[in-house]
Amino acid sequence: MTRRLERGAEFKDWGTYVGRRLLQGLLVLWAAFTLAFIILYILPSDPVRIMLSGSGAEFANASDADLAKVRAEYGLDKSAPLQYLHALWNAASGDLGRSIQRGMPVTDLLGGALGQTVRLGLAAFAIALVLGVAVALGAAFTRNRLVRQLVLTTPSLGVSIPTFWSGLLFTQVFAFRLGWVNVFDQESWKSILLPALTLAIPTSAFIAQILAKSLSATLGEPYIQVVRSRGASEARVLLRNAFRNASLPLLTMIGMIVGNMLAGSVVVETVFSRMGVGRLTFEAVNAQDIPVVMGVVILAAAVFVVISLVVDLIYPLLDPRVSVRTARRRNAAPSPLTPPSPDGTAADLPSPTTATIQGAVA
C-alpha cells in the first residue's frame, strides 16, 4: 500500500521534473539564440555588406538601392529590438530565414544535412565506444604494470591526432593505395567507414581515458574486494561488478562527446566532402551566410538540451541511488542543506550530469 503511494509520488515528481527541465531547455535555446543574434547582427558592422561581399562577385559593387532592397528583405532596415523580436518570433514558429548563399530556407538546408551527419555520428560513436572500452578494459585486465602504462598512454596519443591529418592519411592509404573503399561514392555504406573512423579516434581516446580512470577508481572500492573475497574471478569482478558502475561517469559525458563530434564533423565532412551539418557550417561561415550560422547554433544548442535531458532521465535507471527527486533537489538548490543522513549515503552520490553538460554548451 505504502509502496503504491510512493510510486504515485515518484511518478508525479517525474512529470513535474520533466516539465521543469523542458522549460529550462527552452531557456537555454532562447539564450543561445539571443547571444548569437547579438554577435551576428547587432555588433557594429553591416551584416548586409558582409553577406553580399561574401556571397559572390556580382554584388561586389552593390549600389545603395541594392543594399536597401536586401536590407528590407531581411528586415534589417528596422531598429535592433524590432529585428530581434521579428527574428525570435520567426524562429519560435519554425522559420529560421533563408540562406543568402543558396536562397533555400535554413530549416530545409539543415534538415537535408542532418541525416548525413547523424549517420556519420552514430557510426563514429559505435566505433569509438568499441575502441575506447577495449582499451580501458585491456588496461584493467593487464597485470604487468609496464604494459598497462603503455596501454594507458594510447588515449593521449589518440586525442592529439588532428582529424584533418588522420582523415587524409586514411584516404591515402585505404582508398588510394589499397583501394578498399571508395570514399567518393556517397551512396555506398562503405563510404562512411573512413570518415567515421577518423571522427571516432579522438572520441574513443576520450572514452578510454574517462573509463580507464573510473575503472581503476571503482576497482579500489571496498565492495570489489568483498566480491573477490567470495572467490570471484577477475573477469567476473571486472565485467559483472566494476564495469557498470565505472561506466556511469561516461554517461554524464555523452553531451560533451556529441559536442566534440559535432565540432569534429566540420573538419571530417570537409575533408571527405560529405554534405552534412559540419560541411554546411564550414561553408556558411566561409561565405558569411549569417542565417545558416544562426540555424547551426540553434541546432547545436537543441542537441545539447535534448541529450542532457535524456541522460538525466536515464541515470536513475542505471544508478538506483539517484532518483529524479534527488536530481531535482540538486538542480533546484545547490545549497548545503543536504540533511546529515544517518548513514552518510546521500553525501557520496555521483555528481549530477547537468553541470557538465551545460558546461559543454558554454
Binding site: 571496498p222 565492495y223 567470495r230 572467490g231 558502475n245 546529515p340
Partner: protein, 598 residues
C-alpha cells in the same frame, strides 16, 4: 584447548608480509607472527593502526595487493596456502574461508540488488543449482541473519537498508557456502554501539549454532575480551602476547598489553582530574553516592558559560512537507570551567547541535546565550567577533588542517584573521601554543603530512585555543584516534581545562570517553534530549531506558569492567611524542590509510 592435539583449522607460523612502496622499497607490515585457530574457535587479533592486523586478515584470504611479499607458513586444514595459484585461492575464498568486511556502507555494490549479490556469492562456487533454488537459499540466508521480510529486502538496493542491516546482508553472503572459517575485519567499527552489540551477538551465535571458527580483527579490547576465546595482541607487526581473554585481562604478561589496557577509557570510572601537584591525571573510581555539595549540576545552574534553550533545527526532507527534525527542543548548559558531555548515536542530532551552538548554522527557534549575551540572532561583524570566543575542533585533523600551511601558519591563522599582534608576536604565540599542547617547537615549520593523527589533533586544539576562547566545542575530536593516542588527547584536554579554566562542550558517540571528561552529560536520540544530569548520577543510575541500553551495549561489559584493577594505582604521565617516533608512524599511516578507514 582443542588445537593442541590435531592439526588446527588455520595455522599461521612466522608469517611475514612486506609491501612494496614507490620510494623506500619494501615496508614490513607483519614481521613473523604465529597463531592457530581450532575448529569452532573465536580468535581476536587486537592492535592499533599499523599493527599489521588487517594485513594478516588479507593474507589469510589471499587478497594481499599485488607486489606484496609473503613468507612463512600459512596452513588451512593441514594444506599450505603459501604459493597457492589464483585458481586454488578462488576455490577456497568464499567456500571455506569467508570474509566480513569493515564498513558495511561501502562494502555492497551500490547498483545491484542485495538478493543478487548474495546469489552471486553462491553462484561463484555452484553453477549447477537452478535459479529458483538459489533464490530460495538467498531468502533463507537473509532470514537466518535476522532480516525481517527477506523477500522484500532481497529486491532492495543497499542504500535502502541501514548500516546494521547491511552488515547482516554481508554476514549472510559470507555464510552462503557454509565456510569453516570467517575472517571478520573490524566488522562493527563503523556501526553504532547498540547495533554493534547485535551484530557481534550474531557472529557469536554462528559459532555455537554452526560450529564456525572466527578470526576477529578489532582495535577494541573491550570487543575482543567480550567475544573471543583467545586474543592475539599485535603491535608494529609483532605478536606482543597471545593468551585467553581472561589471562589478557587479569595477568597480561606484556608491557604493551598493560599499556593498551590502561589506555582503554573506562565507563565504570570517574571523571579524569588533573593533579597540579604531581602533574598527573587521576581517574578516581566513582563513589556510588556522589557528595551532594559537589555535584556539577548545582555548579552548572549557578554558573553556566553557555545556555541554550529550546533549540530547534529542521532540514528539508526527502519528501515534500515532511521535514527532518535534526534538533528538537534541546536545552543545555555548559558549566563555566567544566565540561558538558553530549552523547548520542548517529542521527541523534549531536553534530547539528554543535553547529548551532557555534552559530555556524542558523537556528529555527530557541535562544543561545553566551556569557549573558544573547547570540542567537547576531550577524555580520558581531558574528565574526563571536568566532574569537567560541571555537570548534572536528573529528578528522587531516581534513581540518590545510595541507599546504605549515603548522605555524595554521596556528596563527586565527590571530591574522583578527589582526592581532605583529608577525613576530604571532610567531611567538605559535611556539607558545605548541608547548601548551605538548608538541616540540620545531614542529612550527612542518607540514601536516609530516605529523601523525594524534599530533595533528593537538595542533587543531592549539589552533582553537589561539584566541583564548571562552568555549571550546569538540565534535568527536578523539573518535578517529587509536586508543593510546586518544588517552593522551583526553589527558591533554583535562590538563588544559584545569590550567586555562576552559569551558568545553564535548560531543561523542562513545560513552566511556564522555564518562572520562564530563561534569554533566546530555544523552541525545533522534534530535531530542533523552536524559541529562550530572555525570556521576547519570552513569550510576540512568533513568531512561535508552541510556540504559547504551550502557548495556558498551563493549567490554562482560569481562572488562567487572574485574579491572583500579586505575588510581597506575597514574598516567602525559608523554609528549618526540620526533624520533615519526619514521614508524609514517609507515603506520601509509598502511593505515591503505588498509582501513580512520
Amino acid at each position: 584447548m582443542p588445537h593442541s592435539t590435531a592439526a588446527p583449522l588455520l595455522r599461521v607460523q612466522d608469517l611475514t608480509v612486506s609491501y612494496r612502496t614507490g620510494r623506500s622499497g619494501l615496508v614490513p607490515a607483519v614481521r613473523g607472527i604465529s597463531f592457530d585457530i581450532a575448529d569452532g574457535e573465536i580468535v581476536s587479533l587486537v592492535g592499533e593502526s599499523g599493527s599489521g592486523k588487517s594485513t594478516t586478515a588479507l593474507a589469510v584470504l589471499g587478497l594481499l595487493a599485488p607486489g606484496s611479499q609473503l613468507t612463512g607458513r600459512l596452513e588451512f586444514e593441514g594444506q599450505s596456502l603459501v604459493g597457492a595459484t589464483p585458481r586454488q585461492w578462488r576455490a577456497i575464498r568464499g567456500r571455506q574461508i569467508a570474509f566480513i568486511p569493515q564498513d558495511p556502507t561501502v562494502s555492497l555494490n551500490p547498483t545491484r540488488r542485495i538478493g543478487r549479490q548474495i546469489a552471486e556469492a553462491i553462484r561463484i562456487h555452484d553453477r549447477s543449482t537452478p535459479r529458483s533454488e538459489v533464490h530460495d537459499r538467498v531468502i533463507e540466508l537473509l532470514d537466518r541473519v535476522g532480516i525481517p521480510q527477506p523477500d522484500l529486502r532481497a529486491r532492495q538496493y543497499p542504500h535502502e537498508l541501514s548500516g546494521g542491516m547491511r552488515q547482516r546482508v554481508l554476514i549472510a553472503a559470507a555464510l552462503a557456502n557454509e565456510p569453516q572459517l570467517i575472517v571478520a575485519d573490524e566488522p562493527t567499527s563503523a556501526l553504532d554501539v547498540t547495533v554493534q552489540k547485535q551484530v557481534l551477538d550474531h557472529i557469536h551465535a554462528l559459532r555455537s549454532d554452526l560450529g564456525l571458527a572466527v578470526l576477529l580483527i578489532t582495535h577494541d579490547l573491550g570487543v575482543a575480551t567480550d567475544r573471543s576465546d583467545r586474543i592475539v595482541v599485535l603491535s608494529d607487526g609483532l605478536v606482543e602476547e597471545s593468551a585467553t581473554a581472561e589471562q589478557i585481562l587479569h595477568s597480561p604478561s606484556s608491557e604493551y598489553t598493560r599499556r593498551l589496557l590502561a589506555a582503554v577509557p573506562k565507563v565504570d570510572h570517574g571523571r579524569l582530574r588533573w593533579d597540579a601537584v604531581t602533574q598527573t591525571v587521576l581517574a578516581p573510581e566513582p563513589s556510588r553516592t556522589p557528595p551532594p555539595a559537589a555535584t556539577a549540576g548545582d555548579a552548572a545552574s549557578a554558573d553556566s558559560v553557555l545556555i541554550a534553550h529550546g533549540l530547534h533545527r529542521s532540514f528539508k526532507g526527502p519528501r515534500r512537507g515532511e521535514p527532518i527534525h535534526a534538533v528538537r527542543n534541546v536545552s543545555i548548559r555548559v558549566p563555566r570551567g567544566g565540561t558538558l558531555g553530549i552523547v548520542g548515536e548517529s542521527g541523534s542530532g549531536k553534530s547539528t547541535l554543535a553547529r548551532l551552538l557555534t552559530r555556524l548554522s542558523p537556528v529555527d527557534s530557541g535562544r543561545i546565550v553566551l556569557d549573558g549575551t544573547d547570540i542567537t540572532d547576531i550577524t555580520g561583524e558581531q558574528l565574526r567577533q563571536l568566532r574569537r570566543r567560541v571555537q570548534i575542533v572536528y573529528q578528522n585533523p587531516f581534513a581540518s588542517l590545510d595541507p599546504r600551511f605549515t603548522i605555524a601558519r595554521a596556528l596563527v591563522e586565527p590571530l591574522r584573521a583578527f589582526g592581532i599582534g605583529t608577525a613576530r608576536e604571532r610567531d611567538e604565540r605559535a611556539a607558545e601554543l605548541l608547548s601548551l599542547v605538548g608538541l616540540p617547537e620545531d614542529f612550527a615549520h612542518r607540514l601536516p603530512a609530516q605529523l601523525s593523527g594524534g599530533q595533528l589533533q593537538r595542533v587543531a586544539i592549539a589552533r582553537a585555543l589561539a584566541n583564548e576562547p571562552q568555549l571550546l566545542v569538540l565534535d568527536e575530536a578523539v573518535s578517529a584516534l587509536d586508543v593510546s593516542v586518544q588517552a593522551q588527547i583526553l589527558e591533554l584536554l583535562v590538563r588544559l581545562q584545569s590550567e586555562l579554566g576552559l569551558s568545553i562542550a564535548f560531543i561523542s558517540h562513545d560513552l566511556a570517553v564522555i564518562r572520562q571528561v564530563s561534569d554533566s552529560v546530555v544523552v541525545m536520540s533522534q534530535g531530542e534530549v533523552v536524559e541529562d544530569g550530572p555525570a556521576d548520577i547519570l552513569f550510576n543510575d540512568p533513568q531512561s531506558p535508552y541510556t540504559r541500553a547504551l550502557l548495556e551495549a558498551v563493549p567490554g561489559r562482560e569481562r572488562m569492567f567487572a574485574s579491572l584493577p583500579v586505575r588510581d594505582e597506575t597514574p598516567i604521565t602525559p608523554k609528549p611524542l618526540g620526533p624520533e617516533a615519526f619514521d614508524d608512524l609514517e609507515a603506520a599511516h601509509y598502511l593505515n590509510s591503505a588498509l582501513s578507514p580512520m
